[in-house]
Symmetry: C2
Subunit: 344 residues, 2 copies
Amino acid sequence: MNKITIKAPYLLFLGRETEPTYAKTGAGIAQWRPELCAGQLNLERGTVDLGLPKMSIQDAKAAGVKSLIIGTASVGGAIPDDWLDILEEAALAGLDIVAGVHSRLSDSPRLVAAAKTSGSTLVDVRVPPKILPVGTGKKRSGMRLLTVGTDCALGKKYTALAIERDMKKRGLNADFRASGQTGIMIAGQGLPIDSVVADFISGAAELLSPDNTPDHWDIVEGQGGLYHPGYSGVSIGLLVGSQPDAFVVCTAAGRTHIEGWPDFELPSIDAVIERTISIGQQVNPNICCVGISANTSSLSEEESAAYLKGLSDKYQLPAVDPIRGSTDAIIDYMNLTFATKEAS
Amino acid sequence: MNKITIKAPYLLFLGRETEPTYAKTGAGIAQWRPELCAGQLNLERGTVDLGLPKMSIQDAKAAGVKSLIIGTASVGGAIPDDWLDILEEAALAGLDIVAGVHSRLSDSPRLVAAAKTSGSTLVDVRVPPKILPVGTGKKRSGMRLLTVGTDCALGKKYTALAIERDMKKRGLNADFRASGQTGIMIAGQGLPIDSVVADFISGAAELLSPDNTPDHWDIVEGQGGLYHPGYSGVSIGLLVGSQPDAFVVCTAAGRTHIEGWPDFELPSIDAVIERTISIGQQVNPNICCVGISANTSSLSEEESAAYLKGLSDKYQLPAVDPIRGSTDAIIDYMNLTFATKEAS
């Protein structure tokens, strides 16, 4: 097994959470993969509602649920003691337990014993497979789009998911490829690129978007930022392994510095485009930018429209906010770009 | 402890090796750190001679040896059963056992038990410390030189060691900083950058060359290659974390393609210089190239001299083969460059 995989359908576990912000993982799964979510389970006093049927472990078992996914963060990242009874019950009932919390599921002797008894699996999406290859750089069949960013935490995952959704709406053949823990939980598979051993970053990225049919697009979730003082190695290894044909630059309106690194100015979109092309050409001479995706949540509706138009005019590329609208303009541009390329 | 450290003096263990090529690690330690090597130990039929006094474990113990270093490779990378008796004896005698072989020392119950009994340590130089920071990008005091390469395996470690040696000969304040397993064994400390988790590459590189006095140079061993289809993430993370003031490009005469990746042409020296500066400027605006180090072992003496002169003329930089000569021309150039900068 060289990828993490999560068996559907899911029961989303929300603990005693009362703040929707802390249940972002669960909300993301319910938003992007509603067809895989059978129900939700809140502990006593937990009030977060994802709009799914409320289920006990026994209900879930009867409904054919295969995995309980911990869809909420916990204080300090550990598994609270008062979650253990219900997680143990789920594991004993044969459900896989899936988590991306900081402490590992396999560090809990009770969960390990319960899973062993029933034959279920503890899936820690932060732990990459033990054996990964070194990147080969060999050209793979099929097409790939990577979301890159001026920084972390500004919509690379959301943009990739939105492009997948909007391509599928048009009947195009596309799959979101998750490179981070929340993305893996949403996609039900993937590889946590930032957690692999350094020598295997590109190799893991190659596994993430394997050979495919010529009409197929992998929409790869980016990580970090090419200019990031902490994470640029991850971003560049992912770029080289993904060998994208197309990329979208993600940014956030109003952000001036790398978040958490106040001494570092946000790189310009030009700089990100130039470096992505320069490095990406090592493994794909045809790499090109097909759009800009901006998080404009800090702007009014009118300001956002003006900001996106400004970006689009300046770069002569489609510029969208996928939370406010669709990514259709990017897909139109891709269709033109790659149809033209194929015809030439 | 956020760095691997090896206690001197050393006993170099050479097993039953008869081929000097397979005892490269031991030979490297004896060549670069003779003052730390108390003796060598060959098993029966082993003939490799590093010119050190032959010692039993008891001799070594009596001579105050602190660490037994496995200085030879083994077939398949495991620890052969017929090494175990002597390694166990060494651990029981209180010597640390140091290895970079593929299988971990801590996987041997006999060695674990022996080390526990005596209180000695099993040091696996391939295993990074468990807790590493994310790179901050903050400017550190002191000066840094990084060796970068057009490819792997063409002299980045050797060049860094030679520059350290030649700077020290002039009374300059310099330390080799090891980023790979053989380098760590030679230096007695360091971090195996290619083995850290991807998110921490730059952070580990920052630990490797900490704040120092203004006149001090860290000579950092490079890894991989900026254009390498497998390892560029490692190389770039190391570059960003090292924030070098100066770098030397290492290459090999006659190499046309990335070794083991026949579809990838070797990048030009210009391309390596340009990308190293472009990325390095994120964390050090003054980064500059101070020379070229070429492995010319495939050339005759005359051809080598002509090749180096050609490089030097083309790039207007000193070009040396540190195995054939010294790195003095690079150090002269550094003195001029940084003296000028300091005066300006």
